[in-house]
């Protein structure tokens, strides 16, 4: 039963669209109603925000390509200066209209030029009065560019007097975007995170054809059960699912169990998933190493992850300098005489010390100390004589 209905677009397309964007029907229908019919002017700027992997980029792209609406898609991280961004938009426009010839390099520095060239480009295209959509992904980079870029894009329809809508995609809320001098407020739309049911539905969709959908759904269920607590990112989960599926299928492949023996499959895969959580998810080892491990079936104990290499070897004097600095920063000055000289007297505890005996110096943090004290402590803790050479001083710096 198609949920998306719109008189302007053919029903077959809409059905296809619906199959591509599960769990986002409400957002897509909202977008469709804003877009209206092809030639109708829509809202000048739309701002879509949501967490990572909540499907913003994917939904926009699928929507625009499936319904074949003319659009320009630009990632603001890649085109990091305003000039690059504007030129890229113009070049994409030109290349869409004339597919055969090579797009000549266009020179556009300011928004003034952009508006003018934009009008020319749109005029040369046969748009049949369709709305042109300019989609700017990772729009938070626009804030770092010149101050007039963002307000101009929000008002582009008015500035160019053409049928164009600018869609901004970002992970940050609109309140942080608003410039100080005010601007045209776009239509904000929120893409909520996927719930666990949604995740299950989406992940079960792309199952390999050799196995039945139920089998894969059970696998996804197990996977989500283990990983949902730590990770809700769809991309991560998809990656993990792809990596571990081969291991899950092993008992079936070897003939030990058939597709319905859930307990056996669970026992097989559970330690594996736990290990994956510690290694691959934390990026200790790379996924290619993980796959190699699975093939060999060897003991993963030999594989040293990134965190095993934290030990750094230091030269002799450097070690002692570090120790001396630690002592100098945590020991109060009074105790130096007692620790570092051979013949020291007793230290009488004053009232102050009795009150503050329990406070460990570690809680108060390190204290600053003069350089001479550091060197004096160093000379006393190193066994043999240390010559005060430039090498030691350069180690200090």
């Amino acid at each position: 039963m198609p949920n998306l209905e719109h008189p302007a677009y053919p029903a077959a397309d809409l059905l296809h669209l619906e199959s591509l964007v599960p769990c986002r029907e409400s957002q897509v229908s909202m977008l469709l109603s804003i877009f209206g019919e092809r030639q109708q002017f829509s809202f000048p700027s739309i701002f879509i925000y949501g967490h990572t992997s909540s499907g913003k980029t994917y939904v926009m792209q699928t929507l625009l390509t499936t319904l074949q609406l003319p659009h320009v898609f630009v990632n603001c991280v890649e085109y990091f200066t305003s000039r690059l961004l504007l030129e890229e938009i113009l070049m994409q426009l030109r290349s869409c209209s004339s597919d055969t010839e090579q797009p000549s390099p266009v020179h556009c520095d300011t928004l003034n030029d952009f508006v003018r060239l934009f009008k020319q480009a749109v005029a040369s295209r046969e748009l049949q009065d369709q709305t042109l959509y300019i989609v700017l992904d990772r729009a938070e980079q626009l804030r770092e560019m010149e101050a007039n870029i963002l307000p101009a894009f929000l008002r582009l329809q008015e500035l160019t007097d053409r049928n164009v809508t600018v869609v901004l995609l970002s992970e940050i809320v609109w309140e942080l975007f608003r410039p100080n001098v005010g601007c045209f407020e776009p239509f904000t739309m929120y893409f909520p995170d996927y719930s666990i049911g949604h995740l299950q539905k989406i992940l079960s969709q792309n199952h390999p054809p050799e196995y039945s959908a139920d089998f894969y759904a059970a696998y996804i269920n197990i996977l989500l059960g283990v990983f949902y607590m730590v990770c809700r990112d769809l991309k991560e989960l998809r990656h993990l699912a792809a990596l571990n599926f081969a291991k899950y299928c092993e008992p079936v492949v070897r003939g030990e169990a058939n597709e319905r023996d859930t307990r056996k499959l669970w026992k097989n895969i559970e330690p594996h998933l736990k290990k994956a959580m510690q290694t691959v998810y934390l990026r200790e080892i790379s996924s290619s190493q993980w796959e190699r491990l699975q093939h060999d079936g060897g003991e993963p104990g030999q594989l040293k992850g990134l965190s095993a290499h934290t030990h750094v070897e230091l030269p002799y004097y450097s070690k002692f300098l570090l120790i001396a600095a630690y002592l100098a920063s945590y020991n109060p000055v009074r105790t130096d005489k007692r620790f570092f000289l051979k013949h020291h007297g007793k230290i009488r505890k004053t009232n102050f010390m009795k009150k503050h005996e329990k406070t460990s110096n570690h809680l108060l943090g390190p204290k600053p100390f003069p350089l001479d004290r550091l060197l004096a402590i160093l000379y006393s803790i190193v066994d043999n004589r240390v010559a005060p050479t430039a090498n030691i001083f350069s180690q200090v710096s």
Binding site: E236, H309, V312, P315
Partner: protein, 574 residues
Amino acid sequence: CEGIKNLMQKLMGQLMNCDIDVDSLEDEDYVPVSQNRIRCSMSSLISWYDSVTKKTDSETPSKKRNSSSRHWQSPPVVVIFKDMESFTTKVLQDFIVISSQHIHELPLVLVFGIATSPMIIHRLLPHSVSSLLCIELFQSLSCKEHLSTIIDKLLLTSRFPFKLGGKVLQVLINIFLYHDFSVQNFIKGFQLCIVEHFYSQPLSVLCCQPVDVKKRVYSLSHDQCENIRRLPSFRRYVEKQESEKQIELLTNDSFLKEETEKLLEDLHAYHENYVSILRCLHVFTSSLPKYPLGKQIRELHCACLENRVWETEDYESSLQLARMLNKTDLVTMLQQCVEILMSSSGKEFDKTVEKLKEFLTQFQNLEEASQERDVSVSSQKEVQKKTDLYHLQKTLLELKESRRSKKLTKFEMLRFEVVDYIDSLVRKYLVPADDRTLHEILYFNAATVLRGHLNAAPRTALHTALNNPHWYLKNQALKCDGGGISNKAPDICIVYKLHLECGRLINLVDWLEAFSTVVMAAEEPNADAASSDQVDDIIHARFIRAVSELELLGFIKPSKQKTDHVARLTWGGC
């Protein structure tokens, strides 16, 4: 690269410039554009990459593979980031995000150089970015291994005639181990040694390859022959000869030249043999427990250079341990020695090799012959029978006696022989270089000079400069005995010496008085009052200038505790 723009510019500059040089001749359409006009964006990089790979791949038909395959159809572009920690994190993150979007069109492999620990990746890159990377770790060799390789290739080889003496090598290695694990500094120190040696030793002209020695020796002048005669090792050599030969050596230049040539050839031969036997000894001592002679060959080399190694205690203990080695270890060591000796170029070692091979065959024969049962084994069984205390004591005493006079098994005798033979080789060949004649030509021994250059002591230098200005200014007039302050010295020296006598806080007025007394001591005592005011002003000005120079150098600082006082910051000599 302060920003992503610079990064992209540098990247494109380096990648495309290599290409422009190659292809500009063939391809007329490829217009070599200047840096400014190329848009530094990913799309131009991708189009460049396509153009390059299409040229090389035009003959081979590209097969279609499914997208999940991990093999690149065309060679990847490798970008090396030297010293990753000094990049701003934003630049790295942006670059990774950009390149991961175009990974299908432009296969990139990024190599990060990390100086601290691999966890820095997690600190520099947030999870969203590091999840785009497939990270594999590889480690280069540790710096100590690099050092051993360098020493091996430079010193323990007969390709280069220049060698380092024991103390000098120890200084360089100490700087490496104690201060910084820097191989670059070691190399610089080594270069400094070479420069010093060739600069200060006039006979270093003879330090050359053996083929050139003859020619150079015969072209020595009379002065240089005198230099040779003055070398201490040569004097020792001359004293050992008979009197006629002594006279000949000391007077006749051509005879001296012949002798020198022979001695230098001997020295070269000595060094070749030395290296081979050193490696054999290292094979034996490197696997002993507690490494009495050091684990690495450079430690053994230092020990041999400094004194006669067979007289040291470490050597004794290592021989004793060697006498307790088991058979398989011994056999492997002998085989390794045979290989080393056979690969050395001299013919000296043919006999040695034969002897070692004889030992090996004897070891093998031991295996085939039946082992003699120890007499003690049977007596062990007697002890285990039930006895009372007195009988037990008696049997144990008997056992001890029998064990002392027990005949050694064949294996043990063979082991003793092998160890003794190695010992004889060591005594013959591992003579320290200082005992050889004419070693000063090839060996550089001035360790103090080296230490002065490499391990500078700035505070000591400052103190010397200020205390004894004649050391650096080389003005004999400034030379004064310790304690006295010459009034011809520069102002800052006078002020410095005066301040050394004071305590923690120095009164400026007293200091000025003392300074003017010292400076005016040279003037006539009967200066009239009018000029004394002017002179006072000048002296005052000089004093102020000297005090501010001292403050700049860090010896004093203005104190808040008392007005008109300065606090002294350093004590002692440095």
